[in-house]
């Protein structure tokens, strides 16, 4: 029996394929690195994000002991970028998780029940998609900014943003999950488990969910960077995080205003933002290829 190769599951195969893709592996480690920075921001950053050094306003990089220089209020840019990673990643990951949860449940139920319920639920999704996302984002953000769900001051500053991005984000996910469920639903093994009398929720959880998990995970990895991007965009137009909190978008917006004379203010946050976005996109690409070898 020794000559038989040990069988490997679909997931193990995918992992093997993913490991062969250098760009994805590097991106993955980079994402882990950024996450660690975000988690341990208070330990890593040389100063607090709102600490002002009045004597060293707008100092250039590597001057007066500030590696990335300081901004117009004398705050250390490196510390602000490190703390910014905390906000940006929190927005990206939390909203992606919320919208994935809501989208999966909604799309799953809609696809599974089918018929009129499905038609109605999908019409709601259609309507939500046709409201301009910017208007929806701003409206939801303004409405929920006054609600205080969290005790933590940093999360409290994010409440409106988190809810707004989730409200906008779950819709596309719901659509795609529904499509996947419809596809899997018609397969014979689902019919077989129905014939065996397995209750619907168990079929959904044990047979359908594992089979559509791949596309959902891929969607999740693309949802995170798009959320970070939307957050930075909202901060850039002044509707995002309010000072003194910093996210990469806030920093880029600050830097843009004095781009010509103090380029370091826009260069460093842009590099942080751009490289992270690239890493997430490359990793998502690799993941998609690994999970779905056909494409």
């Amino acid at each position: 029996m020794n000559h038989l190769k040990k069988s490997s599951s679909l997931w193990q195969d995918s992992l093997k394929r993913l490991k062969k893709n250098n760009a994805s592996v590097i991106s993955f480690y980079f994402i882990v690195f950024i996450c660690l920075i975000a988690i341990f921001a208070p330990l890593l950053s040389p100063f607090a994000f709102d600490k002002q050094h009045i004597d060293f306003i707008l100092s250039s990089p590597n001057q007066n002991g500030f590696l990335f220089g300081t901004d117009s209020l004398g705050r250390d840019l490196l510390s602000r970028i490190i703390y910014g990673s905390r906000m940006s990643m929190a927005v990206g990951i939390i909203t992606a998780l919320i919208s994935m949860l809501v989208g999966t449940v909604y799309g799953g139920v809609s696809g599974w029940i089918g018929g009129r319920v499905d038609a109605f639920m999908m019409r709601v999704v259609d309507i939500l998609i046709s409201i301009p996302s910017l208007v929806l984002l701003i409206l939801v953000k303004v409405v929920f900014d006054s609600v205080s769900l969290f005790e933590d001051p940093e999360l409290k500053a994010l409440t409106g943003m988190l809810l707004a991005l989730s409200v906008v984000g779950w819709v596309t996910l719901a659509r795609i999950v529904r499509g996947q469920v419809l596809q899997v639903k018609s397969l014979t093994y689902i019919e077989a488990s129905k014939a065996l009398g397995i209750p619907s929720y168990l079929i959904l959880l044990k047979h359908i969910l594992p089979n559509i998990l791949g596309p959902i995970i891929v969607l999740l990895t693309f949802q995170i960077p798009s959320n970070i991007l939307t957050e930075s965009f909202l901060s850039f137009i002044g509707l995002g995080l309010q000072p003194p909190y910093s996210s990469w978008g806030v920093l880029a917006a600050d830097g843009w205003r004095s781009m010509r004379h103090y380029p370091h203010l826009i260069i460093f946050p842009s590099i942080a933002l751009g490289v992270t976005m690239l890493a997430f996109n490359l990793f998502g690409d690799g993941l998609r290829d690994a999970l779905d070898p056909k494409s």
Partner: protein, 364 residues
């Protein structure tokens, strides 16, 4: 027989309803500087379009159904936005220096904001149904329809060029990358396009301004005067969709190349270029089309960031500013404009589907 007559009469009936609807729309639009002749032109061309479509049976009914659906969607969107707006804290006349309550009450009475919400809502619907979007609260005396027409033309031009640009760059790049699959050039093109998708457009715009306006001094950095002014904003707006279309085209082309009819085409000795343009390209346009519906609506309705970066007097700026100003009629008008654009472009895309792939038939 009876069934046939019935279906025929529904067609005729629906067609007349359509004609009546468009007649009304055109007459009302003509209040807003749209020349009468133009509106009759639109009307006539619509009739012609529907006549030609009705040649294939079922299409008129399908169009009718889609248009009714579109009206319902737009109605629901108007309602949702109206309600959400009133949930927002703060009103249009809350200023930093609070107005005396009597004056504020007078102003609110002038705009009908003192009536019960339900009455305001029905008043609004009644007016919106005849394309009267009301007057702006902040830009006193200017009607929303007039503002939209004025600024929309700029956003429309900008968006239209960017849309064209994204197709002109995206599709050839995707084809090129797919034809050189797994080579250096493929990787190079895909790395470029992934950066195009990943990078926020305010960064791309800033870099373009620094390089092409400040350093090289080839293009002006702002304003919207001559065709030279169009270049930088159009490029900035077009880069992301171009990159996305390139990736989409590449992956679909790689799929299509594997199919049997391509092998047949090769076997009968067609040149690679002929295969590429006649067989591959046409068959890989469906996903790109699906993407281009929402893209067209999004890109035409203006981009706030681009308009701020390049000081373009477009409609995207109005949208954000009207929300911060709580300028209810303007927000509602712009939201409606966007939804109408989206509905129309999705309808267009659905019609184009059957052009690119005759297997897809409308209404089936």
């Amino acid at each position: 027989m009876l069934k046939k007559i019935l279906s025929k009469s529904t067609h005729v009936f629906s067609f007349f309803l359509l004609v009546l609807g468009f007649w009304a729309i055109c007459l009302n639009l003509s209040n807003y500087y749209v020349p009468k002749l133009l509106s009759y032109g639109i009307f006539l061309s619509l009739i012609l379009a529907f006549l030609s479509y009705s040649a294939s049976s079922g299409t008129v009914f399908y169009c009718f159904k889609r248009i009714i659906e579109a009206f319902i969607t737009i109605f629901v969107i108007a309602t949702c936005t109206f309600m959400l707006l009133r949930l927002m804290p703060g009103g249009p006349f809350d200023e930093e220096k609070a107005l005396p309550p009597k004056i504020k009450a007078k102003i609110e009475a002038k705009y009908g904001l003192d009536k019960p919400l339900a009455v305001q809502y029905f008043d609004y619907l009644k007016k919106a149904a005849v394309f009267d979007l009301g007057t702006s609260y902040k830009y006193i005396g200017r009607s929303v329809g007039e503002m939209i027409l004025q600024n929309f033309s700029v956003s429309f031009t900008l968006g239209f060029y960017a849309f064209l640009l994204s197709f002109l760059i995206g599709i050839p790049t995707g084809l090129f990358a797919a034809s050189k699959h797994n080579t250096f050039w493929d990787n190079f093109a895909m790395t470029l396009s992934i950066s195009g998708v990943a990078l926020p457009n305010f960064l791309v715009g800033s870099v373009l301004i620094v390089v092409f306006a400040y350093q090289l001094d080839w293009f002006p950095s702002a304003l919207w005067d001559s065709s030279l002014h169009y270049v930088l904003p159009v490029v900035t707006l077009g880069i992301r969709p171009a990159a996305f279309i390139a990736r989409l085209t590449r992956s679909t082309v790689l799929d299509v190349i594997k199919s049997d009819f391509i092998r047949t085409a090769k076997a009968k000795g067609l040149s690679p270029l002929a295969i590429l343009y006649k067989h591959v390209l046409k068959n890989s346009m469906i996903p790109v089309l699906t993407y281009s519906g929402p893209l067209l609506a999004g890109i035409l309705s203006g981009s706030f960031v681009i308009e701020i970066l390049f000081a373009v007097p477009g409609i995207g700026k109005d949208l954000v500013q009207s929300v911060t100003n709580r300028d209810y009629p303007l927000i509602l008008g712009l939201t409606l404009l966007y939804s109408v654009l989206l509905v129309i472009s999705n309808l267009l895309v659905d019609f184009l589907y059957s052009f690119f792939d005759p297997r897809i038939r409308l209404g089936v």
